[in-house]
């Protein structure tokens, strides 16, 4: 049992860890993820007692506080009771001794034994990590990166430690070797207390069952690995997942605005957080349990922005919207997909207050909406398929963009105008500002419409087929723009579209709508990989040649044979569907 309480580490003036609490039992494998500089390695090293910096707090292993031990006592447990697999960098192994010598040393410093037993033990370890005696007799420079990593693992396992700490165990390994090493590591951590420090989220997901997100010396989120990955609750965790390439999500990569600074007051993440409030700038959020997940956030993690309950609307006998429930969180994109006539546009218009509701409730940031006040339109804006619909043909660009300011009685501001133009990547020279909408190209008009929507700094943007009237190259740019705006401002986007392929690339979640009802709703990747509703499958089929068994794509590939002769082959590729969780499980088990 390993208990870390209020661990603080500082090097001189600089505080690297600012109070970390972790509790681990035998069989736990906790991965600590975060950007470089978050303090991950410092955490690992302080547990090993390898830091000269000032540590305070408690690290209790088997009832004894490591921080209170003398160096000689610490040395006795280091490498014996707890061991570390070091990052496989150049010279992690001593270049002048053979691998076997170095493994022997790891044993001998703790357990002196005779030559024969030692030899036996070393051979056993070598085999355990997938090496052999021949490799053991080699010098580090004669081994490949993967073999060196194996040697480092063997050294860590030499005395059968109870705590195993891994520091970036798969850095600088190629994909195949990485998969093998991860398998070995998972095996090695069994029945021990495992701690994995890494920035590689997919590696972490494969070898840990719990995950903690470290930021600027503090844990921001901690929970079950699968759950954290499937449903990140802290804005930083979501940003981290969005910015790291993986085989799980389908949405394009997005970054996190700004960079990590250590001397931040209040919530360490607040300068980069798109949902921060006044309070976040001076008060530190404690790590606390929010429905089984540990989160350090004043707002309890990513806040739900829009909640729709039991929305109904009929036109005569036609039920256009029939009991719809929806949630949309801050900084999230929800794609509302369906054919024309499915009621999706009506739903969007109802949220906007452009169509009356028969029954149901709409909450914005937790408060139910009655009448649509002016204030509402500061927080929610809409863009349309045809941008010219929202731009009066009697107004030039500047007037069209600043019109909402007039409506809100906020007064025109040249500064705001230039800022939004810059955000939507349009020029602010007078010639352009004086143009009328019929002189704009489709892409420019849509950008103007977006700028017009943004000038009030809304939190939610409802986009109704925003790109279906555009050429695909322009469409790509507009979508990229929306994603960038989301990254920078934490904009929540409700994307109404019939295009499944498009929704797949830009949305976090997806809701499939037909006949006024939501048939299926879930994480985009999950929903598309494993559609449960027949109608979803039909939609997918019509989108890209899909049948019941999965996605069938006829592919023509050029296969190179024997060097220069190129042969054309055509074959079918069948992608087997699987759920998100199944994929994670599969990745872990492989």
């Amino acid at each position: 049992m390993l208990d870390i309480e209020g661990l603080k580490v500082s090097f001189g003036e600089r505080e690297v860890l600012k109070g970390v609490d972790i509790h681990l039992e035998r069989g736990d494998a906790l991965s600590i993820i975060g950007e470089s500089g978050a303090g991950k390695t410092t955490l690992a090293m302080s547990i090993m007692g390898l830091l000269n910096g000032g540590c305070s707090g408690r690290i209790v292993l088997q009832g004894r506080d490591i921080l209170e031990m003398g160096e000689s006592r610490r040395r006795e447990i280091r490498g014996d009771v707890m061991a570390m697999v070091f990052q496989n960098v150049e010279d992690a192994l001593d270049p002048v001794y053979t691998i076997s010598d170095q493994i022997e040393e790891a044993i001998l410093v703790h357990h002196p034994m005779d030559k024969d037993r030692l030899r036996l033990r070393v051979d056993h370890l070598l085999i355990q990590v997938g090496l052999n005696r021949e490799k053991g007799d080699a010098y580090p420079h004669q081994l490949s990166g993967g073999e060196r990593q194996r040697a480092l693992i063997a050294m860590a396992l030499a005395n059968d430690p109870q705590v195993l700490i891994l520091d970036e165990p798969t850095a600088s390994l190629d994909a195949m070797t990485k998969a093998e090493i991860l398998g070995l590591l998972r095996e090695s951590m069994r029945d021990r207390i495992g701690l994995v420090v890494t920035h590689d989220i997919s590696a972490a997901s494969r070898i840990s069952n719990r995950m903690a997100v470290l930021y600027s010396g503090r844990i921001l989120e901690m929970g079950d690995t699968e759950e954290v990955l499937a449903r990140p609750l802290h804005p930083y965790t979501r940003g981290l997942l969005r910015s790291s390439p993986n085989m799980i999500t389908t949405k394009d990569l997005q970054g996190i605005p700004g960079r990590m600074n250590s001397g931040v007051k209040g919530c360490p993440f607040h300068p980069r957080c798109t949902q921060h409030q006044q309070r976040c700038t001076f008060e530190l959020p404690e790590l606390r349990d929010v429905g089984g997940r540990m989160i350090a956030c004043h707002r309890g993690g990513i806040v739900p922005l829009l909640e729709v309950r039991g929305l109904c609307r009929s036109f005569g006998p036609l039920k256009a919207v029939d009991g719809v429930d929806l949630n949309l969180c801050e900084g999230e994109t929800l794609a509302l997909v369906g054919e024309s006539g499915s009621g999706k546009t009506t739903l969007a218009r109802m949220i906007m207050g452009l169509t009356r509701l028969d029954s149901g409730e709409i909450c914005l940031e937790g408060e139910p909406l009655e009448a649509r006040s002016k204030e509402f339109y500061r927080r929610v804006q809409m863009i349309y398929q045809n941008p010219r619909e929202s731009i009066s043909h009697r107004m030039n660009v500047a007037e069209a963009i600043m019109e909402p300011l007039d409506v809100q009685g906020l007064g025109r501001s040249r500064e705001k105008l230039e800022r939004v133009l810059d955000e939507v990547e349009l020029s602010s020279d007078p010639e352009f500002l004086n143009r009328y909408s019929h002189h704009l190209s489709g892409g420019e008009a849509q950008r103007v419409a977006i700028a017009r929507a943004l000038i009030l700094d809304p939190k939610l943007l409802i986009a109704d087929e925003p790109t279906s009237a555009l050429d695909s190259s322009v469409q790509a740019k507009i979508l990229r723009l929306l994603m960038d705006l989301q990254e920078k401002r934490g904009l929540a986007i409700l994307l109404v579209t019939h295009d499944l392929a498009l929704a797949r690339k830009v949305s976090d979640r997806m809701a499939v709508m037909k006949g006024g009802k939501i048939l299926e709703e879930g994480l985009t990747s999950d929903l598309l990989a494993h559609p449960l509703h027949q109608y979803t499958r039909e939609l997918m089929e019509s989108a890209s040649g899909v049948d019941d068994d999965g996605v069938q794509v006829k592919a023509r590939r050029q296969v190179e044979r024997e060097g220069d002769c190129i042969e054309e082959q055509s074959f079918e590729v069948c992608r087997r569907p699987g759920t998100w969780q199944r994929m994670i499980r599969w990745m872990r088990s492989s």
């Binding site: 090993m48 070091f86 001593d94």
Partner: protein
């Protein structure tokens, strides 16, 4: 160059020439050591032999005069001159001369010292053991002391012991070895009279066994100390630096993580790895040690090759001077080669030692 320059003994250009002549192979060594070791050394040796052959012959005037000096000619009879011309093959063509020169060398014939009335090689052989004793033990002891102090100092970087050692060593390294030799001579030999002033053994002492050994050590102590004190400084500085660099390597953290004791880390990991550059430097510093030994021998009138060289210069015994320089360069080269081979054994990353 004039004879006056020469007769000044340890004056400017001799100092310079000897140092250059001896350091040259060291430089050539470092340039050449990438390829096949042996081939390189053979090439270096050939170049040295050719230079030694060509230089006297390229001097203006009579080669005989160049070889034997002005004074020798005064005492020379036509009979002797004819003898010498034949002996040096000066009546042959240049390539035949070269072959004759090589074959003479192959027989160990370095020429004839008219001053000692013996063949040059025999004269040198009589003096050589003392230089080997002095330079060899100086090299070993200074390396050992430099290494030990460097390891301690580098490991305790910034602590009082390190600061003290560093300051002391930097002070010492600025002093020339013959100066320290003179100091030692004055303090131990003249003022305190605990050590002999000159020689390698008490003349006509007729000592045996332990007494002989003690006498030998008493004579050796001061010149050896002078050499060691100066020569250990470069090893110390190098070891200290290399120790500091090594302590920053990742494998030191790995060793700590295993639970190795600090002593083990200091000697088995950091120390062992710091050894590598030191061994190379021993090879490169060998010429310095030999030069140093030559000067110190002069100061203490220690009967080694340096003292011999000094005397042969005073007596303008050109064949002897030439022979000594050739011998010294060749032996430095040989030791360098040995060091190079040793390095390959120490560092598995170099060559195919494994």
């Amino acid at each position: 160059m004039s004879m006056d320059d020469l007769s000044r003994g340890s004056g400017g250009w001799i100092d310079y020439t000897i140092a250059r002549a001896i350091e040259w192979p060291g430089k050539a060594f470092s340039l050449l050591c990438k390829g096949g070791i042996l081939a390189n050394y053979i090439i270096a040796i050939l170049i040295i032999l050719s230079l030694n052959f060509l230089l006297p012959r390229m001097m203006p005037g009579d080669p005989l005069q160049a070889i034997y000096g002005d004074e020798a000619l005064v005492a020379m009879t036509p009979q002797l001159e004819a003898d010498l011309i034949h002996r040096f093959g000066l009546d042959l063509s240049i390539d035949q001369q070269f072959i004759a020169y090589l074959s003479a060398l192959a027989h160990g014939d370095l020429g004839y010292s008219y001053y000692y009335g013996e063949s040059v090689s025999q004269v040198i052989l009589a003096f050589l053991p003392w230089t080997i004793l002095l330079a060899g033990s100086a090299m070993m002891i200074s390396t050992a002391i430099g290494l030990l102090l460097g390891m301690e100092s580098g490991y305790r970087r910034g602590q009082p012991l390190d600061k003290l050692l560093l300051a002391g060593v930097i002070f010492l390294s600025g002093l020339p070895d013959f100066f320290i030799g003179i100091l030692l001579l004055i303090v131990f030999g003249v003022s305190w009279r605990v050590l002999p002033l000159s020689g390698a053994l008490t003349p006509y002492g007729d000592l045996h066994g332990t007494a002989l050994a003690l006498d030998l050590l008493r004579h050796l102590a001061a010149p050896l100390a002078a050499l060691v004190i100066v020569r250990m400084t470069s090893t110390y500085l190098l070891t200290r630096n290399s120790m500091i660099a090594t302590l920053g390597e990742r494998y030191i953290v790995t060793a700590r993580g295993k639970g190795c004791s600090e002593r083990r880390i200091q000697y088995m990991h950091a120390g062992r790895n710091s050894l590598l550059p030191v061994v190379t430097s021993v090879g490169l510093h060998l010429p310095n040690i030999v030069t140093g030994a030559l000067f110190v021998e002069i100061v203490f009138a220690y009967p080694g090759v340096g003292w011999l060289l000094y005397n042969s210069i005073l007596s303008r015994d050109y064949p002897l001077i030439q022979g000594i320089l050739l011998m010294v360069t060749l032996s430095v080269l040989t030791v360098n080669m040995a060091v190079d081979l040793a390095y390959r054994r120490l560092d598995p990353r170099v060559g195919n030692a494994h």
